[in-house]
C-alpha cells in the first residue's frame, strides 16, 4: 500500500504533528489547571482588584483564559492548514 516515498512523508507528518500538538496541549492543560488551582488554594488572590478599577484579577484572568482557549484553536488550525495539510494531500494523491 505504501511506497517508499509515502512512508517518508508519513514519518514527516507524524513528527510535524507532534511538534505542533505538544506545546498547545501543555498550554491548554497548564493554564486551565493553574486557574482551577488558584480557585481551590488562594481564592482571595482572585478577589484583589486591579489598580484602581473595580475589576478583580480573577475576572480579568478568566476573560483572558476564554480568549486564550480560542486563540489556541485558531493557532492550531492555522498551523495544521499550513504545515500538515500539504503533507496529507501528498499522501492522499500517492495512495
Amino acid at each position: 500500500m505504501q511506497t517508499r516515498n509515502t512512508k517518508e512523508i508519513y514519518q514527516q507528518l507524524k513528527k510535524a504533528r507532534i511538534k505542533i500538538l505538544i506545546p498547545l496541549i501543555l498550554l491548554t492543560i497548564t493554564s486551565y489547571f493553574f486557574f482551577i488551582w488558584i480557585i481551590a488554594f488562594n481564592p482571595i488572590f482572585f478577589g484583589i482588584l486591579i489598580f484602581d478599577t473595580n475589576i478583580s484579577i480573577g475576572i480579568f484572568l478568566g476573560f483572558l483564559l476564554i480568549l486564550l482557549i480560542f486563540l489556541i484553536t485558531l493557532i492550531y488550525v492555522y498551523l495544521a492548514n499550513k504545515i500538515l495539510e500539504p503533507l496529507i494531500n501528498k499522501i492522499q494523491t500517492n495512495v
Binding site: 475589576i55 478583580s56 482557549i69 484553536t73 499522501i91
Partner: protein, 544 residues
C-alpha cells in the same frame, strides 16, 4: 406531513388555552414561538425528502460546512440550562459562574487537538465506529452504547425537567403538557428529518440565541455608558455578598473537588456522544477542524455575554419589586434572572423574544440528544452488535426511527416522573460518565497501540459503575436526595477517582491480555493510525 400539521394545530390550541389564564399572555412570545415551530417543521418536511439512507439520517449526508457545523455544535452547547443556568449562577454568586463557563470551553482545544480529525477519518456515524475499528465489534459496541445512552438519558432528563418548569413559568402551560409538546416536536424533527433537520434547527436557534444574548448585553452595557468598571462597581454595591462576588465563592472549596470538577468538564466534553456525532456531518478533516474553531469562538463569546447578563441582572433586576416575590427572591428561581432582565431592558417585546428563544433552545438540544441516543440503539446495538454485518439499511433506518420514538416517549415519561426532584446533579453525572467511559476508550483506541478488547471492556465498564456509585454515595444524592446525615463518599464530583479506575483498569487488562485476538488487534494499529492521520479511505459525502 399531516402529522406535522396536526401537531402544530395542537400546539397553537394549547398556547391559546394557556393565554386564556389569569395573566395577560405575552403575544410576542407566542407569535415568535409559533413562527419558529412553523419554520422548523417546514425544514423538517424539506429534510424528510432528502433523508432516505442511513448516511443521510445519521450525518445529513456529510455535506455540512465548517461554519454550519460550528454553529450547530455551539447550539448543542448553548442549552437553556447553560444560558439560564450560568447567568443565574452569576446573578447568585458572581465569579463562580465563570468557573463553569471556562470548564465547558476548555474541552474544545482537547477535542480539536486530539480527537476531531481521527474521529472524522475513522468513523462513519458514531464514535463507537472509531473504538471498534480494530477491536471486537460486539462487546465494544455494547459498552460504547451503554456509555452513550446513559449520558444521553441523564442529559435528557435534566433538559426535560428544566424545560417543563421553564415553559410552565413563561407560557403558563401545565407542566405535563409542556413536557409533552417538547417530546412531540422533538420526535417529529428527528424521525422525519434526521440529522439534516436536527442540524438546521440547531443552527437557526444558535443564531437567534446569539442575537438575543448580544442585544441584551448591549442594552445592559448601554445603561452603564459601556463601562465594565461602572457595571461591576454598582453590582458590588447592590449584591448582598458585596465585594465577594468578584472572587471565587463556595463552588469549589478543596483541591480534590477542584481537580475532579476540572477533569469532568474538560474531558467530559470530549466524550459527549451528541457532540462527537456532529463531526461525521462534515465532508473531511479540514472542515472538522474549521468547525471546532467556529464553535469555540461562538461558545466563548456566548459565555462572556452570559457573564454580562448575570451582572446586569444583579443591578437591574435584584432590587426591582416587579421581579421579586413576597420573600424578596426572584419570581420563579435564580435561573429566571436572564428572563426578568430581558423585560427590564427591553420590555414585553424582548421578554417575548427571549422566552421564545429559550423554548427553541430546549427543543433543539433535546433533538440532538435523541438522535445521538437513537443512533446508539440502531447503529451500534442493533446493526453492529446483534445482527452483525447482515445489515439491511432500510431496516436499520426503521429501527432508528422506532428508537427515536421510544427515547422521546421515555424522555417525556422520565420528565414527568422527576418533576419534583433536584435534577441539577444529572448533568454533572452525565459529564462524569462521558469523561470516565467514553473519553478514555475513544482516546486510547486512537493513540494506544496496546489497547485490547478485554482491557477496554473491563476498564470502561468498571469506570462507568464506579462513577454512578460514587455519585449515589456522594453528598448530592446520599444527603440531599436520600436525606442521610453524612455522605459516604465526601466529594461532589467523582471524575478524578473514576477516571483513574478506568485508565488503570484498561492499562492492566490490556497489558496482561495474551489472547490470539489481542495480538491481531495490536497488529491492526499501524494501518488504523495511518488512516486516522491521513484520511486515506474515508467515505465521500452524498451528492445532492
Amino acid at each position: 406531513m399531516y402529522k406535522l400539521i396536526f401537531l402544530l394545530g395542537l400546539l397553537i390550541s394549547n398556547l391559546l388555552y394557556a393565554g386564556a389564564g389569569d395573566e395577560e399572555p405575552n403575544y410576542t412570545a407566542i407569535i415568535m414561538f409559533i413562527l419558529f415551530v412553523g419554520v422548523t417543521l417546514f425544514i423538517t418536511y424539506w429534510a424528510s425528502k432528502k433523508t432516505h439512507t442511513a448516511k443521510s439520517f445519521y450525518t445529513a449526508g456529510g455535506n455540512i460546512t465548517g461554519l454550519q457545523n460550528g454553529l450547530a455544535i455551539s447550539g448543542d452547547f448553548m442549552s437553556a440550562a447553560s444560558f439560564l443556568g450560568i447567568s443565574g449562577l452569576v446573578y447568585l454568586s458572581g465569579f463562580d459562574g465563570l468557573i463553569y463557563s471556562i470548564g465547558f470551553l476548555v474541552g474544545w482545544p482537547i477535542i480539536l487537538l486530539l480527537i476531531a480529525e481521527p474521529l472524522r477519518n475513522l468513523g462513519k456515524y458514531s464514535f463507537s465506529d472509531v473504538v471498534s475499528f480494530r477491536l471486537k465489534q460486539k462487546p465494544i459496541r455494547i459498552l460504547a452504547a451503554c456509555g452513550s445512552l446513559s449520558t444521553v438519558i441523564l442529559y435528557l432528563i435534566a433538559q426535560m425537567v428544566g424545560a417543563g418548569k421553564l415553559i410552565e413559568i413563561l407560557f403558563g402551560l401545565p407542566y405535563y403538557s409542556a413536557v409533552m409538546i417538547v417530546g412531540g416536536l422533538m420526535i417529529s424533527y428527528v424521525t422525519f428529518g434526521g440529522m439534516l433537520a436536527t442540524t438546521w434547527v440547531q443552527i437557526i436557534k444558535a443564531v437567534l440565541l446569539l442575537f438575543g444574548a448580544t442585544l441584551m448585553a448591549l442594552l445592559v452595557l448601554s445603561q452603564f455608558e459601556f463601562n465594565f468598571n461602572q457595571l461591576f462597581s454598582e453590582a458590588v454595591n447592590i449584591h448582598s455578598k458585596g465585594e465577594y462576588i468578584m472572587a471565587p465563592g463556595g463552588l469549589i472549596s478543596d483541591p480534590v473537588s477542584a481537580i475532579s470538577l476540572g477533569l469532568a468538564l474538560m474531558f467530559g466534553t470530549a466524550g459527549l456522544p451528541h457532540i462527537l456525532m456532529r463531526f461525521f456531518t462534515v465532508p473531511d478533516a479540514v472542515q472538522a477542524r474549521k468547525s471546532v474553531v467556529y464553535a469555540t469562538g461562538f461558545i466563548g463569546y456566548f459565555y462572556i455575554l452570559t457573564f454580562i447578563i448575570g451582572f446586569g441582572a444583579i443591578v437591574l433586576v435584584s432590587n426591582n419589586p416587579e421581579y421579586l416575590n413576597n420573600s424578596g427572591a426572584l419570581i420563579g428561581n435564580n435561573n429566571m434572572a436572564a428572563i426578568h432582565l430581558s423585560h427590564a431592558v427591553g420590555g414585553d417585546i424582548l421578554l417575548g423574544f427571549i422566552s421564545a428563544v429559550a423554548f427553541a433552545t430546549i427543543l433543539a438540544v433535546v433533538s440532538g440528544l435523541t438522535l445521538a441516543g437513537a443512533s446508539a440503539i440502531s447503529h451500534d446495538l442493533y446493526a453492529n452488535a446483534f445482527i452483525k454485518g447482515q445489515n439491511n439499511e432500510k431496516i436499520e433506518m426503521k429501527v432508528s426511527k422506532l428508537a427515536t420514538i421510544f427515547l422521546g416517549v421515555l424522555a417525556v415519561f422520565l420528565g414527568i416522573l422527576f418533576e419534583e426532584q433536584n435534577v441539577a446533579f444529572m448533568v454533572g453525572l452525565a459529564f462524569a460518565i462521558a469523561a470516565t467511559t467514553n473519553f478514555p476508550i475513544l482516546i486510547l483506541s486512537i493513540y494506544w497501540k496496546n489497547l485490547t478488547t478485554r482491557g477496554a471492556v473491563i476498564g470502561g465498564s468498571a469506570g462507568l459503575f464506579i462513577a454512578i456509585f460514587l455519585v449515589i454515595l456522594g453528598p448530592v444524592v446520599w444527603v440531599d436526595i436520600f436525606g442521610n446525615n453524612e455522605a459516604i463518599f465526601p466529594y461532589k464530583y467523582p471524575a478524578l477517582f473514576s477516571m483513574i479506575v478506568t485508565f488503570v483498569g484498561i492499562w492492566f487488562f490490556s497489558k496482561t491480555d495474551k489472547s490470539k485476538n489481542s495480538i491481531n488487534e495490536k497488529k491492526l494499529f499501524e494501518s488504523q493510525y495511518f488512516r486516522s492521520q491521513t484520511g486515506v479511505g474515508i467515505d465521500k459525502p452524498n451528492a445532492y
